[in-house]
Symmetry: C2
C-alpha cells in the first residue's frame, strides 16, 4: 500500500512507531502494535503501528511518522512510502513463553534484550516481559543470561588488565558514601577500580550527585579509560555511557508499579560490572527496618544469589551484610556527604563511615590475595595516600583538587531539631529523613540536606541537637521543617538491640 507521509512534530523517544488511519489498517488487516515494513527506494525500516480513527489529524492514505523513522529512511514530509505487513519479531514469542511460566534460554533472552535496545519492542511488549519476570522470577541461569545480554548489547569498557576491582551497595539507606572512600584506597593500593555510579532516582543523593560537588561526573568512554589509566580509579556517572541501555528501559517500566523483580535487580547491578570487565567485587547489602531489605533471611538469600550469579559470570563476588537501620555518616545531601567523605579521607569524620569503608576495602584487597589487607588499608588512609589519590582523581575529572572539607559550601539556612526528653535513641526513620532532605532541596540544591547527630543506642540529654536541616532558600527550609515537625523521625526510648556494621 502506498501512503503519503505526515511528519509528526515530536519525537517518540522510544520504540519506533508509525501511525495509520483505521481505514488503511483495516484494508491490510492490521491491528494496533502489529508490524509493518516501510520502504522508500532501497531503504526500509520495520516499525510497530498505532491506529487512529481521528481523521482531523490523519487522513486516509496518510501515514504518521516520527523524526526517528524519517531520519533512518532519509525521507521528508509530502513524499510517499510503500508499506507491507510484517510478522512480529520472534522475541515476542519468547516473552509469551516466559509469561506461560517457562524458562528462557540464553539465545531467547539475548533476542529480547537486543530487540529492546534496538527499539523493536513496544512498551506493552516490554511490560509483559517485566511482569512475567516479576511473577515467575528468573532462575539463576536466566539472570546470568540477562546480565550478559544487558552488558553485551551496551557499551563495554575494555582495560586489558587483571584484576579489575569494584564495589557496590544495593542501597536503600541515606548517605552511605563508602564508594568515595574505597575507590581512592584501592587505587592507591595499585589496583584498577573504574567505578560508575548512579544519580539519585528516589533517594536524596546518588554517589554521582555527591561526587558532582567535587568534580565533573559525566565523561565519555574514552575520557574514562584515560582517567583510569592515569589514576587507576574514577567515580563517574554511568548514565552518560550507554553501558546498559536495556536496563534503563526495563527500569522505566518497573517504576510504573514500583516493581523490583530480584532476577532483573541482580542482572541490572552485575551487568554494569560485567561491562566494565570487573573480576572482583565487594557488595554491600544493608538490611533491617527502614532499609530496602527489611529482614535478614531475604538479605542472606540475596547474598547467596549474588555469589552464585558472580560465579556463573566468572566474577568473584564478596558480600557483606550491614546494618541498614540508620544512615552511615552524618551528612545527608550532596555537599554534606562530600564533606563527610573528605573528612574521612583525612582520617577525621564520622567513625561509622570510616569503619565500614575500611572493612569493605580490606575484604576487596583480600579477595585478590593481598596479605595483611587490614593493615594495608589502614596505612593508606592514615598516611594521607588515600586523600592524595582522591585529589588526583578529582583533578582528572576536571574538579578542584585544592578543595578541603571546610571549603565545601553548605546551605546557609538552617534549623536545629532537638530532643524533647532525655533517653537512648531507639529508632531512626530513614524514610522520613529522606523526605525532609528532599523537601529542603536535595539533590538539586547541592547544599541542602541534613546533618544527623543522632545514632542508634546513643544517649541524649533533653534539648540536645538530634539533627540540623540545611537549605539554600528560606522557603525550602520552611517546607522541610514542616515535614520534620509532622514526622516522628527519631524515637528516644529504652533499650535497643545491638547495632552492627558487618
Amino acid at each position: 500500500m502506498r501512503l503519503k507521509i505526515k511528519e509528526v512534530n515530536i519525537s517518540s523517544g522510544g520504540p519506533l512507531i508509525a501511525i495509520l488511519n483505521i481505514d488503511d489498517a483495516n484494508k491490510l488487516d492490521l491491528h494496533a502494535l502489529d508490524r509493518i515494513k516501510i520502504k522508500k527506494g532501497k531503504k526500509s525500516q520495520i516499525v510497530a503501528i498505532d491506529i487512529t480513527d481521528d481523521k482531523r489529524t490523519l487522513k486516509t492514505g496518510h501515514i504518521g511518522l516520527f523524526e526517528e523513522v524519517l531520519d533512518k529512511l532519509k525521507i521528508k514530509r509530502n513524499q510517499a512510502v510503500e508499506i507491507f505487513a510484517e510478522p512480529k519479531p520472534r522475541s515476542i514469542e519468547f516473552i509469551r513463553k516466559k509469561l506461560d511460566g517457562e524458562s528462557l534460554s540464553k539465545v531467547e533472552i539475548d533476542n529480547i534484550i537486543k530487540d529492546i535496545v534496538d527499539n523493536k519492542l513496544t512498551e506493552v511488549e516490554i511490560t509483559y516481559f517485566v511482569s512475567a519476570c516479576f511473577t515467575y522470577g528468573l532462575t539463576i541461569y536466566e539472570s546470568a543470561y540477562l546480565t550478559e545480554a544487558i552488558a553485551e548489547n551496551g557499551k563495554l569498557l575494555k582495560f586489558n588488565k587483571y584484576p579489575i576491582l569494584d564495589k557496590h551497595s544495593v542501597g536503600g539507606i541515606p548517605n552511605n558514601r563508602t564508594t568515595m572512600i574505597i575507590v581512592p584506597i584501592i587505587a592507591a593500593a595499585g589496583y584498577y577500580i573504574p567505578k560508575t555510579s548512579t544519580r539519585s532516582i528516589t533517594s536524596v543523593s546518588g554517589t554521582a550527585d555527591t561526587m558532582d560537588v567535587l568534580a565533573k561526573v559525566a565523561h565519555t568512554k574514552e575520557k574514562i579509560m584515560s582517567i583510569v589509566k592515569k589514576t587507576h580509579g574514577c567515580i563517574v556517572w554511568g548514565g552518560a555511557l550507554d553501558m546498559a541501555t536495556a536496563d534503563d528501559k526495563l527500569i522505566k517500566i518497573e517504576k510504573v508499579l514500583s516493581l523490583d523483580p530480584e532476577g532483573i535487580l541482580l542482572a541490572s547491578i552485575l551487568a554494569k560490572k560485567y561491562a566494565a570487565g570487573t573480576t572482583h567485587l565487594i557488595l554491600d547489602i544493608p538490611y533491617g527496618k527502614g532499609s530496602k531489605i527489611e529482614d535478614k533471611k531475604k538479605a542472606k538469600k540475596l547474598k547467596r544469589n549474588f555469589k552464585h550469579l558472580g560465579k556463573l559470570l566468572g566474577m568473584e563476588v564478596k558480600v557483606i551484610l550491614t546494618d541498614g537501620r540508620q544512615p552511615i555518616g552524618n551528612g545527608i545531601g550532596p555537599a554534606l556527604e562530600a564533606r563527610d567523605v573528605l573528612l574521612t579521607l583525612q582520617n577525621r569524620g564520622p567513625v561509622d563511615l570510616k569503619k565500614k569503608s575500611l572493612k569493605m576495602a580490606e575484604l576487596l584487597l583480600k579477595s585478590v590475595g593481598v596479605k595483611n589487607a587490614k593493615k594495608k588499608v589502614n596505612g593508606i588512609l592514615k598516611s594521607g595516600l588515600a586523600y592524595k589519590k582522591m585529589m588526583e582523581i578529582i583533578k582528572e575529572q576536571n574538579g578542584n583538587s585544592k578543595i578541603t572539607p571546610e571549603k565545601i559550601k553548605i546551605g546557609k539556612y538552617k534549623h536545629d531539631v532537638k530532643a524533647n526528653k532525655k533517653g537512648t535513641i531507639k529508632e531512626i526513620f530513614n524514610r522520613d529523613l529522606v523526605k525532609i532532605a528532599k523537601a529542603a532541596g536535595a539533590p538539586k540544591d547541592k547544599g541542602a540536606g541534613i546533618y544527623v547527630n543522632a545514632k542508634l543506642r546513643k544517649k541524649v540529654k533533653k534539648n540536645e541537637i538530634l539533627y540540623t536541616i540545611y537549605a539554600e532558600s528560606k522557603n525550602k527550609l520552611q517546607d522541610a521543617v514542616k515535614i520534620s515537625n509532622n514526622s516522628k523521625v527519631i524515637n528516644i526510648d529504652g533499650d535497643l538491640t545491638k547495632t552492627f556494621i558487618y
Copy 2:
C-alpha cells in the same frame, strides 16, 4: 511550573499523555508515566507524561499536548499552562495488588475499569493488569465484578421488559451462523432478542459481516431500541455502540501476545449481554480438534463457569457443548453464509445448520418456560414465520426485504477442489479453510469464500467435489488456490468417531 504549549499534530487516540522535556521533568522530579495536573484558568486536566530528551522537537519550557487535551482545556498553541505533580490514580495500587497474587474487590475492579474507560491509565499500566489476570486468573467473583464494571462503564440498552433473550457462541469455527436463524425464530415467538454481534477479527466473517450482506448493521442506540420495539429482534454490530469500551481496550492489549485469559473472556462476553439487560441466554461452546477449545474437559469447565457467573449476575445461562471439528453449514464467507441462512429460514439449506439452530432456539424458549418448545420452533420455521420475521428485521435495518437466497451475489471466479481418492472423510482442518477463504478476499470481498460439500463421515468418490473456492478477483482466487494446493484441508481415510451436534 509554567510551560508554553506545543500542539502535537496527531491524535494519540488512547490514554491522555503530555510530553515534557527531560530538563523540566527533572526539575519537578517527574519520571515517565508519572501524572501531572495541567491548569489553564479554572479548567484543569490530569494526564500521564512521557519524557523526551530530543530538543529539536521539544524545547525546555515547552509541553507537548495532543488534540484531546487541548480540546478538554479549550486552549490553543502558543498559550501557556501551569503544571503540578499529581499522585498516580489509586487504580494503579489495585493493579499492583493483583500482580502480587491477591484477589480484588468489586470497588477495586470498578475503579480500574472506570480509569481505563476514562483514558486515565496508560497502556503499560493496563498491560500489567491483563498480565496479572492471565497469570493468576480471576475468581468467579472477580469475573462477576469485571462483567458489571465493563457493562456499567459503557452504554446500556434499557427495554423495561421481561424476559430478554439472547444467544452467543464462543466461536472459533467457520460459519456457524445460527444467530441469524435463532433471532427471527425467537422474535416470531414474541420474545425480545436484541442481538449485538461482532465483526470478524481473525475469522473469515463475523455475524455482523454476514448480516451486512442483507442490511445495515451499524445503528445508534436509539435506532436499535426502535428496531427491537417494532420487530422484537435485531442483528446489529455491537462495535458501533460503546457498550463495552473497556473490553475493546483490554482486547487490544491481549492481542499483542494472543492472550485470552478466561476470566476476561467470560466477563467480555457476558458484559455485553448484561448491558443489553439479558435475562436468559443460550450459549454455544463448540469444542474438538481444530476449534478454539480442543478438549472436552476444558469445554465442561467453561460451561460450569459461565453458568456460575450467570447466576451471580442474575442471568439464566443455558449452555450446549457442540461439535467444533467442522464448519456448520456449507458456505464460508459473508455472502455464502447469508445464502445458507436464507435457505435455512425457507426450510431448505444445510441440515446441520438447521438442526443446531432449532435445538438452540428450543432450549432458549424452554428456559423461559415455554411448553412444547420443540414443536413451537419447528412450526415457526416451517410455516415461514421465521423467514417473514427476518424480512421485517432486514427492512427495519435498512436492508432489501425483497431479497431471496438466489439473488445474493457470490464471487464470479471459482475453483473446485476434488477428492484424489474414494473414501470416508475423517478430518476437516478448519484453520486451513479460514486461511483459504481469507486469501480469496473474505470478509472484505463479500462474495469471496468457500462452499464446502465435505462433511465428517461422508463417503466420497474419487473426483467428487470437496469444496469450491469463490473470489471476486482472478488474482485473489489464484492466491487462495495456491494455499489450498499447499494444505491438506480434508483428510479422506478409514473410520471416524461419531459426529454430534449437542
